[in-house]
């Protein structure tokens, strides 16, 4: 279209458009950086998110000015459908289901990036041209990262939504099969670089990256999910970057790199909080080996030890007459949707003059910060939430630690039992409190498959039942004090 415009009044405007687009991209990139910076502090986080959204809007509007973007009706329909679905999802999703939501959105972002690469490949091939070497390489990378992000995220979503079993899934020769697939991908990639016009090989590459995504998430599950969600978050950014390389578009490269960095930082924090390497999380299928608990990795002589169980009234008494109580929530609280009852319990205790704090382990729940979001939903001020490093020195002075649906993150074996699989993992030291009440469904081992020494300690008592039931009964009990 542009070439048809005669030189004259309009050419000045139209020739300025590419610069306008580039400047807008620069503004958008700056807004993304400022937005991310402000997301880092509770006081400014909401504004930071808004600034990011404004940056996105600027980038999108600028792109619509591009002379290659002419298909406005079709684009409008696509954007309206997407915006409608996105808005409905964002409004409807339960806070407990936030890990699934983020997982799914990661997948959509990855899919979009992969589709861009496939579409671009198709466009080039059908124009009769042969894509140059660097474009072929970036297209291959983009399809690989985007494809893995898509199917990996969908599987993580399905696991979290319990459409498939959440536990690690393993099969014989899993690692060799994965390696074989990766090698075939490299071989196909090499072939495509030599002969970029081979559509069949390209489709093969696409299929391989989709399968690789599934296989990558298959053996990871349960309590390791925060790591995989963070990593997929990083991948969704890298996929956008890769698509940016394909299109030669800076805003995609920059924004993708920012998200890639953020995801990797979170991944690292999660790994450190479990004292495990990323490779160990990805490849060891942790928690799938039931033999660990059978050979008594943690407590060889647990049979000799006694577990003391109490009823909710007794628990209410212990809590109500305490001076200070620390609540330690875990995934069990999320599953039971007990966050509102927990808040009610804290209210009742505070009414009696008890000091209540919450202790949050970095990997509690199924995504980074999962517990914080749930407690925020229940209207708990974030100033009452304490990180592991801040609360651990205080446990010695705490009268009652109330553990709700957490297990491995409070297992003292991590501190002193070198033969335990979770040895070295930083834990919340609830065993140092004067008394510990553990709300739990039964005596099953935690995700790691390790029995929890905490349950057999002299100052630990158990309240068996679902988190929601038990907390509700505790509330009723405390009310009568």
């Amino acid at each position: 279209m542009n070439e048809l415009i005669p030189s004259g009044a309009f050419s000045g405007i139209s020739s300025a458009i590419p610069s306008v687009i580039q400047i807008s991209y620069l503004v958008a990139a700056s807004l993304f950086i400022i937005g991310l910076k402000q997301l880092g502090s509770p006081a400014t986080a909401r504004r930071g998110n808004l600034i990011g959204a404004v940056g996105m809007l600027i980038a999108i509007v600028a792109t619509l000015l591009d002379r290659n973007v002419l298909n406005y009706e079709v684009i409008l329909v696509g954007v309206l459908i997407g915006a409608g679905l996105g808005a409905v999802m964002a409004q409807k999703v339960e806070m407990t289901a936030m890990p699934q939501m983020v997982g799914l959105l990661n997948g959509f972002g990855g899919a979009a990036s992969a589709l861009i690469a496939v579409g671009e490949f198709w466009k080039v091939i059908h124009s009769g041209a042969v894509p140059p070497l660097d474009e072929t390489i970036t297209i291959i990378l983009s399809v690989l990262i985007g494809g893995i992000t898509l199917t990996g995220s969908l599987l993580a979503f399905a696991k979290l939504q319990e459409l498939v079993p959440g536990a690690p899934i393993t099969f014989p020769l899993q690692q060799p099969v994965n390696l074989l697939l990766l090698l075939s991908f490299l071989a196909c990639g090499g072939y495509l670089i030599a002969d970029p016009s081979s559509t069949a090989v390209f489709l093969g590459l696409t299929a391989l990256s989709l399968v690789l995504g599934l296989l990558f998430v298959l053996p990871i599950g349960g309590a390791d999910t925060p790591v995989v969600i963070s990593l997929l978050n990083s991948f969704s950014g890298l996929a956008a970057s890769a698509a940016g390389f394909v299109l030669g578009n800076n805003i995609l490269i920059i924004a993708g790199a920012l998200v890639g960095a953020s995801g990797i930082i979170l991944t690292e924090i999660m790994c450190r909080a479990m004292n495990r390497t990323l490779a160990n999380v990805l490849f060891s299928a942790f928690g799938s080996k039931q033999s660990v608990s059978a050979d008594g990795g943690a407590t060889g002589n647990s049979q000799d030890k006694v577990v003391r169980s109490i009823d909710p009234d007794e628990g209410a008494m212990m809590l109500g007459y305490a001076k200070s109580v620390v609540i330690v929530p875990g995934y069990g609280m999320a599953v039971a949707q007990a966050q509102h009852s927990v808040r009610e319990l804290a209210d009742q205790l505070e009414r009696l003059g008890v000091e209540v704090k919450y202790a949050i382990h970095p990997v509690a729940g199924r995504m980074p910060g999962h517990m914080n979001v749930l407690l925020a939903e229940a209207n708990v001020p974030y100033t009452q939430l304490y990180d592991m490093d801040d609360i651990n020195p205080e446990f010695e002075r705490v009268d009652v630690a109330l553990v709700i649906g957490a297990n491995d993150v409070v297992n003292p074996a991590a501190r002193h039992n070198a033969s335990s699989p979770i040895y070295g993992m930083p834990i919340l030291e609830v065993d140092r409190a004067h008394h510990t009440i553990v709300i739990k469904r039964g005596m099953n081992a935690g995700f790691s498959g390790v029995e929890n020494e905490l349950f057999y300690e002299d100052n630990t008592v158990m309240l068996f039942g679902s988190a929601k039931d038990m907390v509700t009964k505790l509330v009723a009990g405390v009310k009568e004090l």
């Binding site: 880092g40 509770p42 973007v69 679905l85 983020v102 970057s241 920059i254 960095a261 970095p362």
Partner: protein
């Protein structure tokens, strides 16, 4: 390697360093909003999708681009809105709901 590719790599590496610096000190309370907010930013692939879907002539590329537009828009809109919904709940002082 072409100059364009090198230039792209330069931008990518520098942006990664900025990302690490900006995000490094984030408190655990904000891990989830950071993740969903940055996730929305990764929906920037919408820009690429618009470029692919923008062709006037229908082709497989345009159809793929259109699907990408829909998915990326869900990513962008859903991501920013859900982050806002979450952050709205983070309060310093107790407020009666």
């Amino acid at each position: 390697m072409t100059e364009a590719l090198i230039a792209g790599i330069v931008v990518f590496v520098l942006a990664t360093f900025i990302g690490v610096e900006v995000i490094n000190k984030i408190p655990p309370t904000l891990h989830t909003p950071l993740m969903s907010g940055s996730n929305a930013i990764s929906g920037i692939s919408l820009v690429g999708a618009l470029l692919v879907a923008g062709d006037r002539n229908w082709s497989l590329s345009v159809i793929l681009g259109l699907i990408a537009v829909i998915l990326a828009t869900i990513n962008v809109v859903g991501g920013f809105l859900v982050t806002d919904r979450m952050l709205q709940m983070f309060k310093k002082k107790e407020v009666k709901a």
